[in-house]
């Protein structure tokens, strides 16, 4: 089901930077972490030598170092992120698979897209420097006009442009991918979906993208000297950060489970919660709500569930559709994962309330909407009920949030294991 994707099967093509790291001597001998440090030391040494030889102003050294630092930070990010992207497994939904494969092949296999941003950026910078040579003169001091130094500056300018251009292109493709993935995810049928671990990885990478974009702030002092460069940098920051945020928000709308599972979780009214203590399992029926990500059920402080979950938070929840007449209508979902108790009166519990309090209000609203008769009953009969049943939030009723890790789906007694 999750075979190797064509991207992996083709001769693996890497970004120019990665190829340099793989093939050029000082780097090819070193592991990735040292690659970055070696790069920093090497470029910085050249920079310092140039600084001493040409007697440049101090600002040039400081700002230049910051620029070098930017290239290094970017490289570190690149060496960290790209392998993750290559390892991504394919969704079972055709449309989503296509979106992800297009994204990967555009980003990782097409050198045209890799270079276009850098070339445009470098072109703009060179034209600007030719037009406004005073800016360069200020930094270079006595060395202005020396061909060797010109080459050095050009290399540094290319290094930065390549990285900024690639960041921009990546951000653009990422936003495009997230939006199309989110719309493809809404057209899922049956059991087709993107495993949530993959969605989580993509979201995590988007988050890193934001920091990646922010690292361009290191170039700020260098750009302060000129209106044009400052404008360019600002445009870059707004562009990458905006696109990355957009992408992150689009990924947030991708549902966690395939539609068959979601429909059971949304429409079925009872769940069977199993907890385990001292190798003795315990099954109890509960009412529950599902908010698109987690499953919540209520329990009371007097219950065995509460005592056990506090000690062992592993929980299995079975939600099933049952019908005595029609065999085809019997389906079930088993979610297994960690349970978290919310609403406790304790130091930790109050801290959690602070974190999840608003969301708990939403969960309460969901309960009210799904079980109107139950909530009415709890309100009307409040006095007659045993204390453990009274629906007093925080005092006797607690909410347990289950984060699914493993999912099994049954249809007519035939199990299918899905990856969370």
């Amino acid at each position: 089901m999750n075979g190797r994707s064509p991207v992996q099967d083709k001769l693996q093509r890497k970004w120019i930077y990665e190829e340099i790291v793989d093939y050029i001597p000082p780097f090819r001998w070193l592991p990735p972490v040292f690659d970055v440090i070696a790069q920093l030391l090497l470029v910085e040494t050249v920079g310092v030598l140039a600084f001493i030889y040409f007697q440049m102003p101090v600002e040039a050294a400081v700002y230049g170092s910051l620029a070098i630092l930017y290239t290094v930070v970017w490289s570190a990010g690149c060496l960290y992120v790209i392998p993750w992207l290559r390892r991504l497994r394919d969704p079972t939904n055709k449309l989503e698979r296509k979106v992800l494969q297009d994204y990967k092949s555009r980003l990782l296999l097409d050198r045209k897209f890799e270079l276009i941003g850098g070339v445009l950026c470098l072109g703009a910078v060179i034209i600007y420097l030719l037009y406004d040579s005073e800016y360069l003169q200020f930094f270079l001091g006595a060395g202005f006009g020396n061909p060797l130094l010109a080459i050095l500056i050009l290399v540094l300018a290319w290094d930065i442009s390549y990285r900024m251009g690639l960041s921009m292109v990546t951000a653009l493709f990422t936003a495009w991918r997230s939006i199309s993935l989110s719309s493809a995810a809404r057209k899922r049928l049956g059991l087709a979906y993107t495993a949530y671990s993959e969605v989580r990885t993509l979201k995590y990478l988007d988050m890193i993208n934001i920091f990646w974009g922010l690292s361009a702030l290191l170039l700020l002092p260098l750009a302060m000297g000129s209106y044009f460069l400052l404008l360019g940098l600002a445009a870059f920051l707004v562009g990458t950060l905006g696109l990355s945020t957009l992408s992150l928000m689009a990924m947030e709308t991708v549902p966690w489970f395939p539609p068959d599972v979601e429909s059971i979780l949304n429409y079925e009214r009872f769940a069977y919660v199993t907890v385990c203590s001292k190798d003795q399992p315990l099954v109890t029926p509960v009412i529950f709500v599902y908010d698109g990500k987690y499953l919540y059920f209520a329990t009371s402080v007097a219950s065995a569930k509460y005592r056990i979950i506090k000690k062992n938070n592993k929980v299995a929840v079975l939600v099933d559709m049952r019908d005595r007449e029609n065999r085809m209508k019997n389906r079930a979902v088993l979610l297994r994962g960690k349970g978290m108790i919310l609403g406790e009166i304790s130091l930790k519990g109050i801290f959690k309330l602070f974190l999840y309090g608003l969301w708990l209000l939403r969960v309460r609203m969901l309960f009210g909407r799904k079980y109107p008769q139950y909530m009415k009953y709890y309100e009307e009969k409040a006095q007659e009920l045993p204390p453990a049943w009274q629906n007093k939030p925080f005092l006797s009723r607690l909410i347990v949030r289950v984060e699914p890790e493993k999912i099994t789906y049954w249809r007519e007694a035939r199990p299918t294991t899905l990856r969370a």
């Binding site: 199993t274 907890v275 385990c276 003795q280 099954v283 062992n312 592993k314 079975l318 049952r322 009166i345």
Partner: protein, 163 residues
């Protein structure tokens, strides 16, 4: 509103298995079997069952390769819940929870009349072509039985054998 915790024990201890619980066990259709994997990781599935009125055993039938059978081979403690659910009022919910020890019984060895009863109970549901050959029966001997109806809780515990 005072900050007192609700009393933990409002469960009534009974001498014998309550008649209502027996009735529920006879009439229920699906049982939920909870087993545990190594590391006390719980697992739960819906199953078919037969309640043996005379011996107080519960028989569940499943396929030999299923996860629960491999769990029971490692850890014999199980829990079975059979309940009547009503989505209009919690007061009408009732159920039985059995905690006990499971034994695996090959179908050939399982009592014939129980199997007949089993086929009779689920015949309409299973239809023809039910693969009896790859099935195995799980016999659950209750150690304790909890029964609830609305807000009332009862609990029966198997008396200890006198030596």
């Amino acid at each position: 509103m005072t900050l007192t915790l609700p009393q933990r024990n409002h469960t009534k201890i009974t001498e014998s298995i309550p008649e209502a619980a027996r009735k529920l066990l006879r009439e229920g259709f699906f049982a939920y079997l909870g087993t545990s994997e190594p590391g006390c990781e719980p697992h739960v599935t819906a199953m078919f069952y037969i309640w043996d009125e005379h011996e107080n055993f519960l028989y569940l039938v499943t396929s030999k390769e299923s996860k629960k059978v491999s769990n029971i081979r490692r850890n014999r403690n199980v829990s079975v819940t059979i309940d009547v659910r009503d989505s209009s009022s919690p007061a009408r919910n009732s159920g039985v929870m059995i905690r006990g020890v499971a034994f695996l019984v090959e179908m050939e060895v399982a009592y014939e009349y129980l199997m007949l009863e089993y086929m009779e109970k689920y015949m309409d549901f299973l239809g023809t072509g039910y693969p009896l050959g790859s099935r195995i029966a799980i016999r659950v001997t209750p150690r304790s039985i909890s029964y609830w109806k609305g807000t009332e809780f009862y609990r029966w515990k198997k008396p200890r054998k006198k030596l």
